[in-house]
Every structure is written in C-alpha cells, then in structure tokens.
Symmetry: C2
Subunit: 169 residues, 2 copies
C-alpha cells in the first residue's frame, strides 16, 4: 500500500526520497509517520521492478539528490491498482473488534471494556477533529474518512453493549 501511495506522489510530480517522506506524512495528516529508511527501501524495490527511475541532481552545498519519476510501466501499474476492486475480499481485521471479542471469549467484563474503548475512541475523535481543522484537499478527505470510521465504531460499541448478555458464556 505504501508503495502505491509513493507511486501516486511520483505521478503528481517527480520527487527525491527525502522530499517524498515529507509529502507522504503531510498527505496522511501525520497519521502515518515513516522511518526515512523505509522510503529508500521502497524506492529501491520499485526501481528493481522498473516502475520508477531516477535522475541524479547534483547540488553545490547539500548532498546530491536522486529525483524519481514514474516509468510508463509504473504509471500503468498504478492505474491497474487504483481501479482494482477495494471491497473484493471482505476482511475483518480490526483491533477494536478483536479486543471486544477476545474479552467475550475469555470471560472478562465486557461492559467495562466497552466503556474504556468508547473513551479511547472519543479521544481519537477529538484528535481527528483537531487535525481536520487545519487540513485541506486530499488530507482533509482522508481525515473525514477516519472520522466516519470512528463514528461507525462508536455505533458498533453500542451494539456490543446491547448484546453483551448474549455473548457471556
């Protein structure tokens, strides 16, 4: 996934590694902080696969830059991925869900866990709101998505509470 976002950023315009890291984190509103090494590993793999290519740009004072751009193959691969079905295979792999289920299976106190996780989601929500206020464009859209998800999770916790009794062994 990371690699496709990197490719998308390169599709927008050519960039060098260090610049990509900032663009990436900026796009995600700081919700995905990258280790800079990861960028270079990713770029290395993309180059190996012929999806991107670099032009070295020497600088006077600062270290040389490798400016990366999408190749034609890369451009096609990106288009293929974006138009691929996202909901294809249904995958339920979420920490919140699994924590509640785990509590139910292990016979712990479900109600108190629900209240605790509601609190946690509440804090996440206020943080998202804070981020959202200072964002725009694609970043704002991503944050709106995250907010909609948290709202859905809050509703889910309500459901869990209503059915807690049935879950107890």
């Amino acid at each position: 996934m990371l690699k496709y976002l990197v490719m998308a950023l390169l599709a927008e315009r050519p960039r060098y590694g260090y610049e990509l890291k900032r663009a990436f984190e900026d796009l995600l509103g700081g919700t995905w902080i990258l280790n800079i090494g990861q960028i270079y590993v990713t770029l290395g793999k993309l180059e190996e696969d012929g999806l991107i290519e670099a032009e070295v740009v020497p600088q006077q004072l600062l270290p040389d830059r490798k400016v990366w751009a999408l190749t034609e193959i890369g451009s096609k691969e990106l288009a293929r991925w974006t138009t691929d079905d996202a909901g294809q295979a249904i995958k339920i792999r979420d920490e919140l869900y699994f924590k509640v289920i785990a509590q139910a299976l292990s016979g712990g106190d479900i109600e108190s866990l629900i209240w605790q996780q509601r609190d946690s989601l509440g804090r996440a929500m206020s943080e998202l709101g804070r981020l959202r206020r200072t964002s725009e464009g694609a970043t704002a859209l991503l944050l709106d998505g995250a907010i909609l998800r948290v709202e859905a999770d809050m509703k889910w916790l309500d459901l869990c509470e209503a059915r807690a009794k049935e879950l107890r062994p």
Copy 2:
C-alpha cells in the same frame, strides 16, 4: 493480532491446532481463511514465549493431538492486550481511501473510480448481509461491525464525489 485471537480461543477452552483453525475461521464468518501452517507457526511462537503450553493426547486411529492451553502468563498478556487502548494511535491505512487519493494525485478520472468502488462496496455489502443472516453471537457482532464500516465508506464516497472538483489539479 492473529495471535491474540488464537489466545482468546484457547482462553475459552483448550484446543489443538487443527481444531483452532476451524474455530478461528468460524468465528470470523469465513472472512479470514487461514493457511493451516500459519496456526502451527503461531502456536510455536506462543509456546516459545511461555504464553501457552501443550498436552499431547494420543489417539487410536488418528494422529496424536497437541492440545494447547493458556498459561497464567498468557492469560495476563491477553488481558493486557484487550484492555489496551484501540484508538491510541490514529492509523489511516485503507485501500479504498488510498485508491481514491491515488487517482486524484495521478490526475485520473475520480468520478468513474468512485462509481466503480461504490459498486464494489455494494457487492461486499450484499455478501455481508448473506453471511450475517446465518450467523449468531460473536460472529454476528463482527459482521455487524463490518456492515457499519461499509456504510461509513459509502458515505465517504459521497463526500469524495462532492469534493472531486477541488481535488483535481
């Protein structure tokens, strides 16, 4: 994550590997199919860490079974994980979101992608409904969560459509 669900299933009652696979897939309503090898690798690691222990149960006709149970340490570790904040660090890592953003960044046709992904979500939703009808207990709860998520994603696509013009470069 897989390992905690495995531990939760063992907290419910001791089980052997092959049985765990079925219990796991059943719990997830078939939305997470495991390669049987993965179960054994996971059990091996959990044993290494002292979180579970096995009792070998010989059988007359069929191969011996290794019946696994949570140790006291394992039980504590599971409790620690379930009561850990789920919303702690906000993570936006979703294919659907990234596909739309990638399309915007690379200058592709956002509207047609949105319609395509709406269609994809619609099919996912009908599949979820189908699964939901034959489920109960924890599995039904998980599927309801997935349904709430898909609904949130549908709303998000509406948002994307409304803002598609701002996203275009």
